[in-house]
């Protein structure tokens, strides 16, 4: 087995059309950045699913720890006043 020669892993982000965000759509192995872009084109946009791709080395991504999920995201749970629906206004002005 030749694991030491495995090409590095890249994460692929595709912008489906102008004006939209790039969205993560998967990953692939490639030897260098140029090849990663080319392969992203072939693997993830065979049917015009994209107008732009980003690739980034997977080992360069910093992610939150799933174990910290509650600690990180639960504090927002009880802050309902951050949403417009929290405020009951008279019908005549409720479109604001």
């Amino acid at each position: 087995m030749t694991t030491n020669t495995e090409w590095p892993l890249w994460e692929v982000f595709v912008r489906t059309k102008a004006g939209l965000d790039h969205k993560h759509c998967g990953s692939l192995h490639a030897a260098d950045p140029k090849m990663a872009v080319q392969m992203a084109r072939d693997v993830y946009t065979r049917r015009q699913e994209g107008s732009s791709v980003w690739v980034v080395r997977s080992d360069q991504i910093v992610a939150s720890d799933p174990g910290d999920k509650d600690m990180l995201f639960d504090p927002a749970e009880d802050k309902v006043y951050r949403h417009p629906t929290f405020y009951k206004l008279p019908d005549s002005v409720d479109h604001m």
Partner: protein, 334 residues
Amino acid sequence: MYTQAMDTMREEGGDKPALRTAEEAQLQQRFDNRIDAGEFIEAKDWMPENYRKTLLRQISQHAHSEIVGMLPEGNWITRAPTLKRKAILLAKVQDEGGHGLYLYAAAETLGTSRDQMLDALHTGKAKYSSIFNYPTLTWADVGAIGWLVDGAAIMNQVPICRCSFAPYARAMVRICREESFHQRQGFDSLLVMMKQGTDAQRAMVQEAVNRWWWPCLMMFGPPDDQSPNSAQGMRWGIKRVSNDTLRQRFVDAAVQQAEVLGVSFPDPDLRWNEETQHWDYGTIDWSEFWRVVGGDGPCNRERLAARVKAWEEGEWVREAALAHARKSELKEAA
């Protein structure tokens, strides 16, 4: 098809909860609750070791099936009858390569390297779908594969879009979006031969259908009462619909399509059952299935040899690309 992995893992057994600590029992409980609530499990979430192992096995073997599945049809790319059919077949086979790549990437999130998975395939440790060990003898086989093999694959794959393991489910959504074209182009190709072809071409289509029918029914795996790991797969939300249910759905759909095409299936017991409102079919030769799974199908050796050859002959390319990348990196840093 592609989900035969669960049925061929006889030796490993299901979920043995060999829990060591109270903390682990708690994690297991939380995991079970999430599964029951229909939540998705992501790669970095805690999961039972057997869940991980089962998924790795199923996803990697699904990936191998896509890649090995390029071989039978690839066999006809240079001999497609028209430029149009050649372009279609190239696109179809390229899609299958893409499917393999989506799935390898999903399996890698479980902590196994691509090279480890390929090594398991090349050394015969990992299996792939039994269907790809049958030969493509005529051009009609290409159409028959699209119609029947991809048709069976669609039946099988659609429920996996709701698999509890999210990276697998996401890959399946992507794959299922592309599969419909595969089945339609196959049916279309056969339809042209049946409606506008010569007698010899019609006979060729019927002959191909005769050969592919039973192996396609086997793609769904052994009958439910001989599928010991199914219950665990269902419990985990990896398997959503039973082998026999999927097989029956496939038969019901295929019979109708065969009528439009004007071909028959090689099964004297195939008949409409008024009571069940389904098509009854004859007995499947499971000894053939296990023989092919076990490595003794018509093309097992040829398929594996082709994969190993491609891997070995590509080694210098992989190395050169990596050396080039390292050199460019150094140059840029300087």
